[in-house]
Amino acid sequence: MIGFGILLIYFKNSTSTALFTSIFTVSFTILLSPIFQKFWFNVFLTNFQGGSPVSLNPDRFYIYSLEGQKIPIDFYGLKIALANAIAQLVMALGLFGRLSPPQVIVSSFLFNIAWNLNHFLCVHLQQINPDNRVFDDYQISSVYLFAATFGIIISLMIKKPHLTTRFASTDLSSILSQVGSFFLFLSFCATTTFYSLKFTSTLGEYSRSYVWQEAFLGTFFALSASVISTYIFSIILG
């Protein structure tokens, strides 16, 4: 989250906007996401016949009530919320500097509904999948592809400001965005360990942490190779 926030500082004069976008998106999503999680969970997995997303999960640490419905907050729910927030920040990559604060709030609200719908629909499909496995290990389709598709469609519809100096950068903002890229580099490796959103065939046992050091190392090598090849090909392509 810090990495995305600092990366968005790349434009001149956009420091406060970048901080507002990243902090608001994460905090708003963490508050709002459990409500939509509960709703879509009921729609796709329990058909409103009771049951909790985390009925047997010992990680549950807080429950709040809304209209008589108990909404549990647990570590796994927060992982879903943070994956949702990452998807929103990916969407912000394409729309940054073009959305006013009211538009950021509205788009974040609608994105929460849509992302949780997509996530729990995929979970439902996994339940009926003979393997009970999803070979989308780090939610690339539901986080990055979904966010990019969502962002491109919005990008085509909203105003397209002319390229002025406010979309240029200064030396300081370039350095800060490099620091943001560095944090993102680290976080991509870290998410291979902590952010798998695996679902099992039984509803009670919901998630398991990764213990795959190979995945961590593989991600590190892939990122390192991409950074080096980007430098080389950028020079070659002029």
Partner: protein, 161 residues
Amino acid sequence: MYGPVAGTCMNIGAAIAIGITAGFISSLFFKKVYTLVNSNGVRDSFGILLVFLISFLATFVISPIVIKAYYNYSVNLKTLEVSSADSLGSPISIDAAGWVLIYVAISMGIGLATGAVTGITLYILDKLSGHEYDDAQIFSRDRCLNEVGEVPESLNNKPHS
């Protein structure tokens, strides 16, 4: 691009090859496509088209290919077991490759539909506001400086290409 198969494809050579390909696509995109897309108004601030392209390639091409390869060699991947409820050590079913494509299609479909609804809503908000949004109107430090009558410092900075 490596994300969908990071836990499945445990081959450092394959990881590096995927990284090099992603780097080539990235540099090609920012040198050629990004400038073309933004030549007539800013349509893509930081390159979300690149995110789309790379994640699309990853989930539509790399992930099914890796699953198919493991299926062909009947490899038992212990690391794929996420729960004791799974069938332990069973080889990957070839159906898994098809299921990957279903998840991708659903993600894109819902993204398109809900993105269109959100886009229409934001377009209406754009119309209501009546003017182009500029960060400087709300957040900029220059605005504060102007109010006390000083020259904005950033006007003296040359834009960084």
